[in-house]
């Protein structure tokens, strides 16, 4: 659902943009090529700038639109340091206004490139403003997608309709009854009583049938027994456990749509027993600049939770260490204390994919426990998985193992002692 709306949003956005370009194609100060400009803009500028809002640098849309001194802008964009060094008043003003943060120097950009960027920015800003001014237009409405209010209203309408149908139905029945009463037809109720007596008698007859009783009891016992057995067998197996996390972190977006490597955040998986939940400074690598979902008008409340936990103020871009509070994630994969598990052994040495144990994590909106994490499950895998000994000098000295390898036979983890108690229990 989420990805659908995303695709839809992206699609509608590009349609809108193209429309905007077509409309503004002959605009007064758009001398550059906005399409080329978009590419350059996305490659170089988006780390610090957005069109509509302030990020590390100013919101470019309004700034560049109001400032038409393209020559100065070009100089600034290509080498702002030179301008500052030359004590250009305007440059110094901006420099001081943004806490003397140095803007990257882009000497590699030609004047033409800059013109393209400016053209793109102005066009895009204009498009956005136009879109905002016409809320009734088909594009922007679709862009926001069905709001929560609409959905609730829809549900409300359905429920209301259902109630109305029920009430109407009841009215109809009452009316029919009245009609029948008026016609003097009472036989029906007597007939109902008779049927009930018959049924009771049938049950009594069944109860006297010993074979039937035995069969029923047997079935009952078996059902109850197997239910007990299964319940006990699965005690403390929490496959499918999906707790509500303090931040609704969408793995489907990060690992799925954005294709961020698992180890970018879970960096411990390569070198430690713990894959480790990323510390919030890792989140801030990206979320310092990304504070909302694509094209959303307002900052995401979920991302704001990161800021709150870190005591980070997105306006001033400063951290306040007195306002920090820990992020209490709920642990999903709980191995008992007496079982030792090491991620690096499996991820780095055995080169297993994360998905082997954690399931299709890249499609999970909220993570759940995919594998049972029982010992049976561990042992089965150790019995079935061949050791990846290629290119690892660790295995070359083990003669017995080496002979098997030479014979071309697969060597499983179990054959290397992988199912001995002491491999995991100490």
């Amino acid at each position: 659902m989420r990805s659908f709306s995303l695709i839809f949003k992206q699609f509608s956005r590009s349609v809108l943009l193209i429309a905007g370009f077509a409309f503004l194609g002959s605009s007064a100060y758009a001398q550059g090529d906005a399409t080329k400009g978009e590419a350059i803009f996305k490659a170089n500028c988006t780390t610090c700038h957005k069109i509509d809002i302030r990020l590390i640098g100013p919101a470019l849309g309004p700034t560049v639109t109001s400032d038409t001194d393209d020559k100065w802008l070009t100089k600034w964009i290509e080498n702002n340091q030179a301008l500052i060094a030359a004590h250009d008043k305007k440059a110094l003003d901006i420099y001081n206004q943004y806490a003397q943060a140095n803007m990257t120097v882009f000497t590699q950009l030609s004047d033409g490139d800059v013109a393209n960027i400016l053209s793109y920015v102005r066009t895009a800003w204009k498009t956005q403003q136009t879109a905002a001014a016409k809320p009734g237009a088909s594009g922007p409405a679709a862009e926001t997608g069905p709001s929560d209010l609409v959905i609730y209203a829809l549900i409300g309408v359905i429920i209301l309709a259902f109630i109305i149908i029920l009430v109407l139905n009841k009215v109809v029945i009452t009316l029919e009854r009245l009609l029948e009463k008026n016609q003097g037809l009472f036989i029906e109720e007597v007939a109902v009583e008779k049927v009930a007596v018959d049924r009771f008698a049938f049950a009594r007859k069944l109860a006297k049938n010993k074979k039937f009783v035995f069969f029923t009891l047997l079935c009952g016992t078996l059902a109850l027994g197997s239910w007990t057995w299964i319940t006990m067998w699965n005690t403390n197996v929490h496959q499918g456990y999906q707790p509500v996390q303090p931040i609704k972190f969408p793995h489907d977006l990060h690992a799925g749509a954005m294709k961020i490597d698992c180890q970018y955040c879970h960096s411990g998986a390569y070198k430690s027993k713990n894959a480790s939940i990323p510390s919030l400074n890792v989140c801030m690598n990206c979320h310092k600049t990304i504070d909302r979902t694509l094209n959303s008008k307002t900052a995401s409340p979920e991302i704001k939770k990161i800021y709150d936990a870190l005591g980070y103020d997105p306006q001033t871009q400063k951290y306040d260490s007195t306002k920090t509070r820990p992020m209490q994630w709920i642990r999903i994969h709980n191995l008992p204390d007496f079982a030792y598990f090491n991620h690096s052994q499996h991820v780095k040495v055995a080169k297993l994919r994360c998905q082997t144990c954690h399931g299709p994590i890249e499609t999970m909106k909220e993570v759940y426990q995919y594998s049972p994490l029982t010992m049976k499950w561990c042992v089965q895998c150790h019995k079935r998985t061949n050791v990846d000994f290629k290119g690892n000098a660790y295995y070359t000295k083990m003669e017995a193992v080496h002979n098997l390898i030479k014979e071309g036979k697969p060597v499983t983890a179990a054959m290397m002692g992988g199912i001995e108690c002491g491999k995991c229990h100490y």
Binding site: S272, N274, S276
Partner: protein
């Protein structure tokens, strides 16, 4: 040729007391309360069928309900901003210093969990004492002070600073004395801070003293050679070592270093070169050093001086005036032989004495000078700085206080109210002092008598440096943020003396930049960073001068003889000593140390009066009888313990016990013996004459000693003499023509392949000194619980490795057991030999424990290990019963969550010291040595990640790593070039209880005693 020497583990076993014999018949030596349960109200009464059904129903219901509780929600709380160097699950190591030894502190997620020796440490090359191993636990002591205090109430640091500054200003104006009282400070930066403080307040004097003092040696060197230093001794350069009561392998000056030196001439390598040093010990009580000696001669304290005079006479060929013959025949004979051997080994001989008497030490200097020891085995030019305290300085300070001349006193790592011989003088004196400040991190005896306590950081939280040996500078760096709101003492002193440098880190840094880095050829930022990684710098050694003793000895001899006469007044002579675990008692609140059995007596959680078995009989004492010890205007009551080897007519009592304000663990454990000290000729004497009276009470000691009988099996401990070894290196190992192959009758066990690794261990009994560092290291590494005195008394201590101590008669190389009857045997109990044997799970290839486990909780691995799956264990204890080595431990309680053990290891803070890679065991399961399988697995994983084979020495088990004697070697027997394969290939190797055919994985090397030439 099997050894036919008789060994025994305790006197009960030797004497076959009826109780012991009775106990031994039982499957378990300790009583099992099953009969109590059966005869008690519980199961004894008749239970009607209905009641039974009711109970059953209720039980099932209750259990079902209890099982229905919700699975707890586990939280995972990551760092907000992760420090770059921390990876959760991966340990970091930081170089630091413990008591002059360069160490590595292992931290996990920013908290120190283990202390490991720095392999490049100049002193012990990576070996560490039990004290060092245990020190990490004190960091998490919940009884440490949590902020600064005034008169017992909390007082903020700001207020404290304001108060002290104003007081100091007033005191400075008044012009009265200020004193900084400390134990020996070896940190150059701390000394500089104190010097700066003295500049600011010129009436200040720094008084350094040591609870167990070495003033005698320092003063003697001042008298003899005009150098007031504690020499640096080289036991590795000595072929003949003679010690008079100096416990240099246990407690004397720098034991971990001396063990390393001493063992170099006695270990496998040395023996293979046909070389072994000779060590003769004259001493009163049985010390670790005495038990390791080739020959040990028990002498009374009063005879020590006479023996030294006799030795000097024999070596120099002169006769000092007043020389008297020793009443002790054996000692007298021994002195003559020893003198001959010492002279023969001139230049490679060393005589040391533990006495704190100046005259005695001057005489020792004269002997060493005659033997040419200076410049060879004794270095006066690169002295040890580990102890520099001056007894007279402390006495003078106490007198100054009593005279009301002192207005301010600062106590830094000093506790004179506890360890001064006349503690009342100190408390009385303190009352006359206006400003009393203690830097103690506990409200200890002295701190409680102060108005201000400004608690110091623990050493793991501190910046600092150390200089244990001249020219050897080590660094301390913090490994954790301060756990409590404490402040480093040096920092406080800087603030109070208005030093321009406001924090101690900057101060240390400046001091190193200006003075110390250059000594190691380092400089600047890069030099500092190198230092933080390596942990130390070593300056070039001072050239060694020549020292010849030229003083007149007549007066010295007279002083010694007078002292002897004073002691030998017919009463019982008392010798005060330090135990290996507790030392001077400063770490009394450490449960790991309290539960570490004393190497010789195997007593835990107590001090006691060690009495010779002959005296026990003569005086009518039984073990545990409480006696009143009276002497030097002080008396205490202590249980007695029959200690073979104790000199007749003497008792030995350990200092370091009887703390009253150490904390809940250390409070009222044993009795304080410090007040038995006396001041004589300017130094504190560790001997006294006392009288003993029986109180009639009996207070059993908790020993780990007689838990397990050796059942007359003579293949457990094997010992040969050096002569025998030279003739046949495999002497007394049982190997030879008639050696049976016990493995051929292998009916029960399948053989296991070891395709990849075969982890085994070799333990050199000739290197092991029995110090017990491995026991503490193992507890720290493997989360072994502390059980307390009562449980040790029930023989339920949990140590995975223990050091068995076996006595044998000192038969002077003639072999065989004593021929005489009872009395003669008792006489011989004064001359016993001791062999230590570290005993841990032998990881048998044919493990008897595995065959009896009904639930397969203990099984064999393809790597030669005996695995123990705790989660599978149901606690039948069959395995422990079937283990011939008795190394399995049963969890009688849930030690980690049981209010009865709350002082030990289970509060929120001490739990932080646990090794996260090892699980804690629950009540009702068996546990035992895993051969540090977590380290094996980690070592293999590291090799796999680095795509290489496991290198020999990559994996070190905890006991091996800390052993200062390198007695334990661990490795892969499949690799013929590994250290362990080479060690096991030694002719001396034998396997304990080999005849059982269990194929143990640990090979021991026969103990060799250099008694070829003893005629005594």
């Amino acid at each position: 040729m099997d050894s036919n020497k008789k060994y025994w583990k305790g006197l009960e076993e030797l004497n076959k007391t009826p109780e012991f014999v009775e106990k031994n018949k039982h499957e378990f030596a300790e009583p099992i309360p099953i009969e109590e349960v059966l005869t008690g109200g519980g199961l004894g009464g008749k239970t009607p069928r209905r009641d039974f059904l009711k109970a059953l129903g209720f039980g099932v219901g209750a259990v079902t309900l209890a099982a229905c509780q919700k699975v707890p929600v586990h939280k995972s709380i990551p760092y907000l901003i992760k420090p770059e160097e921390v990876t959760p699950g991966v340990a970091n190591y930081y170089a630091s210093t413990f008591e002059g030894h360069a160490i590595l502190v292992k931290t996990r997620e920013g908290r120190p969990i283990k202390i490991e020796g720095n392999p490049h440490d100049l002193l012990s090359k990576g070996g560490l004492s039990g004290q060092a191993q245990a020190s990490v636990l004190d960091l998490y002591d919940v009884n440490r002070l949590k902020n600064s205090m005034r008169d017992g109430g909390d007082y903020g640091w700001g207020q404290t600073d304001g108060f002290i500054k104003s007081e100091l200003a007033a005191i400075k104006a008044g012009g009265k004395k200020i004193r900084i009282v400390s134990s020996t400070i070896t940190s150059p930066s701390t000394l500089a801070v104190i010097a700066d403080f003295i500049t600011q307040f010129p009436t200040t004097k720094h008084v350094a003293y040591d609870a167990v003092s070495y003033t005698g040696i320092i003063q003697a060197n001042q008298n003899s050679f005009n150098k007031a230093v504690l020499p640096h001794y080289y036991f590795d350069k000595a072929d003949v070592i003679v010690s008079f009561g100096a416990d240099f392998l246990g407690t004397w000056i720098s034991p971990a270093e001396f063990i390393r030196q001493y063992v170099q001439n006695r270990n496998n390598k040395s023996l293979q070169n046909k070389k072994m040093s000779r060590h003769i010990q004259f001493e009163t009580g049985m010390s670790v050093t005495g038990t390791n000696a080739d020959v040990r001669i028990p002498i009374k304290p009063s005879e020590e001086g006479l023996a030294l005079v006799a030795l000097y006479n024999a070596i120099s060929g002169t006769t000092l005036p007043g020389t008297k013959p020793l009443k002790n025949n054996i000692a007298d004979k021994a002195i003559a032989i020893v003198a001959k051997e010492l002279v023969a080994a001139k230049g490679k001989a060393l005589v040391v004495a533990g006495s704190n008497d100046v005259a005695t030490q001057v005489l020792v200097n004269a002997i060493n000078s005659q033997l040419g020891s200076y410049g060879t085995t004794i270095d006066l030019d690169n002295p040890s700085l580990q102890y520099s305290g001056n007894d007279a300085g402390l006495v003078e300070f106490v007198n100054e206080m009593k005279r009301g001349e002192v207005d301010a006193v600062f106590f830094l790592n000093a506790n004179p109210v506890y360890d001064y011989y006349n503690s009342k003088d100190v408390t009385d004196g303190l009352k006359k002092v206006r400003l009393k400040v203690s830097f103690s991190d506990h409200a200890d005896e002295t701190a409680s008598a102060c108005n201000i306590i400004a608690p110091n950081h623990y050493y793991l939280e501190s910046w600092g440096d150390d200089n244990a040996i001249e020219g050897y500078y080590t660094i301390l760096q913090p490994t954790i943020n301060p756990v409590y709101d404490t402040r480093q003492a040096e920092h406080s002193l800087l603030i109070w003396s208005e030093n321009p440098v406001k924090d101690y880190y900057t101060y240390v840094r400046k001091n190193w930049d200006a003075n110390l880095l250059a000594k190691g050829g380092l400089s600047g930022q890069s030099g500092w960073e190198t230092l933080l990684q390596t942990g130390f710098v070593k300056a070039a050694e001072n050239p060694k001068g020549t020292y010849t003793f030229g003083r007149d000895l007549n007066a010295v001899a007279q002083t010694i003889l007078d002292h002897s006469d004073l002691l030998a007044d017919g009463k019982v002579e008392l010798q005060l000593y330090q135990t290996v675990a507790m030392r001077d008692g400063k770490k009394a609140n450490n449960p790991w140390l309290q539960e570490l059995p004393d190497p010789v007596s195997k007593v835990t959680w107590d001090n006691f009066a060690a009495v010779s078995p002959t005296d026990m009989k003569n005086w009518g004492y039984e073990d545990g009888d409480v006696v009143k010890i009276d002497g030097n205007n002080y008396s205490i009551t202590l249980p007695v313990l029959s200690q073979p080897g104790q000199t007749q007519g003497t008792i030995s009592v350990a200092v370091g016990y009887g703390r009253t304000l150490a904390g809940p663990v250390g409070d009222n454990v044993g009795k304080n013996a410090f007040p038995f000290h006396s001041l004589r000729n300017g130094t504190f004497q560790t001997t006294a004459t006392v009288s003993l009276t029986k109180t009639g009470d009996n207070s059993p000691l908790s020993q780990t000693q007689t838990h397990h009988s050796i059942e007359g099996r003579n293949s457990i401990i094997k010992e040969a003499t050096f002569t025998e070894y030279l003739k046949n290196p495999a002497a007394r190992t049982g190997k030879g023509k008639d050696h049976k192959d016990y493995n051929e009758n292998n009916l029960f066990w399948q053989d296991y392949d070891h395709p990849q690794y075969n982890w085994v261990m070799a333990i050199d009994l000739n290197a092991c000194t029995g110090c017990g560092a491995c026991v503490v290291a193992c507890s720290a590494e493997n989360n072994v619980p502390v059980v307390g005195k009562a449980e040790v008394g029930r023989r339920r201590e949990m140590h995975w490795i223990r050091i068995d101590r076996y006595y044998s008669f000192d038969d002077n190389g003639q072999g065989g057991v004593t021929k005489e009857k009872e009395i003669a045997r008792l006489e011989d109990l004064d001359h016993v030999r001791v062999v230590y044997q570290p005993m841990l799970c032998q990881h048998c290839d044919h493990a008897p424990c595995e065959t009896v486990c009904p639930v397969l909780a203990t099984v064999h691995s393809s790597e030669g290990l005996n695995h123990m799956a705790y989660n599978r264990c149901v606690g039948t204890r069959y395995c422990a019963n079937n283990c011939p080595y008795k190394v399995r431990r049963f969890n009688w309680f849930n030690y980690w969550n049981d209010a009865r053990f709350e002082n030990y290891l289970q509060n929120d803070h001490t739990l932080l010291v646990l090794n996260p890679d090892v699980v804690t065991r629950f009540r009702g399961v068996m546990e035992k040595c895993s051969m540090c399988i977590q380290r094996i697995q980690a070592g293999k994983l590291k090799a796999k990640i680095e795509k290489r084979a496991v290198r020999d020495g990559d994996i070190k088990v905890a006991c091996q790593q800390t052993c200062p004697a390198n007695a334990i070697v661990f490795g892969n027997a499949n690799d013929p070039n590994s250290e362990v394969s080479k060690a096991l290939a030694s002719e001396r190797t034998y396997y304990v209880l080999e005849e059982l055919g269990v194929q143990p994985g640990i090979g021991y090397q026969v103990k060799i005693r250099n008694i070829s030439e003893t005629e005594a």
